[in-house]
């Protein structure tokens, strides 16, 4: 099994924010991937989608899913991140007051991506944009007959 699809995300459109992630979650469920894989992929996708909406003019989310893993790439044309190390710190945010009022801009987006993905890569150029790649491994429960509860320990 192999599935690829590219989605576009409009910067500043908070009405539509989350739609791509919902669609991707539906696709991954349809593909029959394990619940934990679907859940984690949807979460990292949502955080990257919200970042594009909050900080970029426009962007793309590229989904690749196969039997081994789900890859989510998010690339945008936006303000970029001057100090990635600082941006990765939980609680640090440059969100506007308007964005914060809606409950975004908690400074946890990037750290949530790192936390829920098995593999996380980020690069950014100020004034150009940001690229994030996240991989969620598709762990086959059949490999763990003695630990069927294992997937639920991820929180």
């Amino acid at each position: 099994m192999s599935y690829d699809k590219t989605f576009s995300v409009e910067g500043g459109n908070f009405q539509a924010a989350g739609n791509v992630s919902s669609e991707i979650k539906g696709i991954l469920k349809e593909l029959g991937l394990p619940r934990d894989t679907v859940r984690r992929a949807a979460i990292v996708c949502y955080e990257s989608e919200i970042n594009i909406v909050s900080y970029a003019k426009k962007g793309q989310i590229v989904l690749h899913a196969d039997d081994q893993s789900v890859e989510i790439e998010a690339k945008d044309e936006g303000s970029g991140i001057p100090d990635i190390e600082l941006a990765m710190k939980e609680g640090y945010s440059t969100a506007t007051a308007q964005v914060r009022e809606m409950g975004f801009g908690a400074g946890m987006g990037l750290s949530n991506m790192k936390r829920y993905a098995d593999d996380f890569f980020i690069s950014s150029e100020v004034g150009v944009g940001t690229y994030v790649k996240m991989v969620v491994f598709n762990l086959d429960l059949k490999l763990h007959p003695d630990h069927p509860q294992w997937v639920d320990t991820y929180t």
């Binding site: 009405q15 989350g18 992630s21 979650k25 859940r39 979460i43 949502y46 809606m102 409950g103 908690a106």
Partner: protein
């Protein structure tokens, strides 16, 4: 304890999702910062918040939360209700402030 029992005990108004009240509630999370809720809530939790815009539905749906409970009589925005109905997420409205809602539900499900 299922959602219906909580609705009854706290006299909550059901904004939408009345057909999904048989769901088991395993706990809850309180917060208005969406990424905090994404990071720390768990499947089957009720989410107690003051946010009323439609992005709360995406968060609840992503985390498979049992319901969203709005506090102090906050009415959800119309597009929030539409989206929640589509996604099958119950939205419940409490007249009490968040502290009391959390306290009452905590007591209900831990006894």
């Amino acid at each position: 304890m299922d959602l219906a029992a909580i609705v009854k005990a706290l006299n909550l108004k059901v904004g939408c999702g009345g057909n999904a009240l048989n769901r088991e509630v395993k706990g809850g999370y309180v917060g208005d910062l969406l990424s905090d809720v994404i990071a720390n809530s768990q499947e089957g939790h009720v989410w107690i918040t003051r946010q009323i815009h439609q992005n709360i539905v995406a968060v609840a749906s992503l985390k498979d939360l049992a319901a969203i409970i709005l506090v102090q009589g906050s009415e959800p925005a119309p597009d929030t209700l539409e989206k929640a109905t589509r996604e099958g997420i119950p939205i419940l409205i409490a007249t009490d402030p968040g502290f009391e809602v959390a306290g009452k539900i905590y007591k209900l499900i831990s006894t």
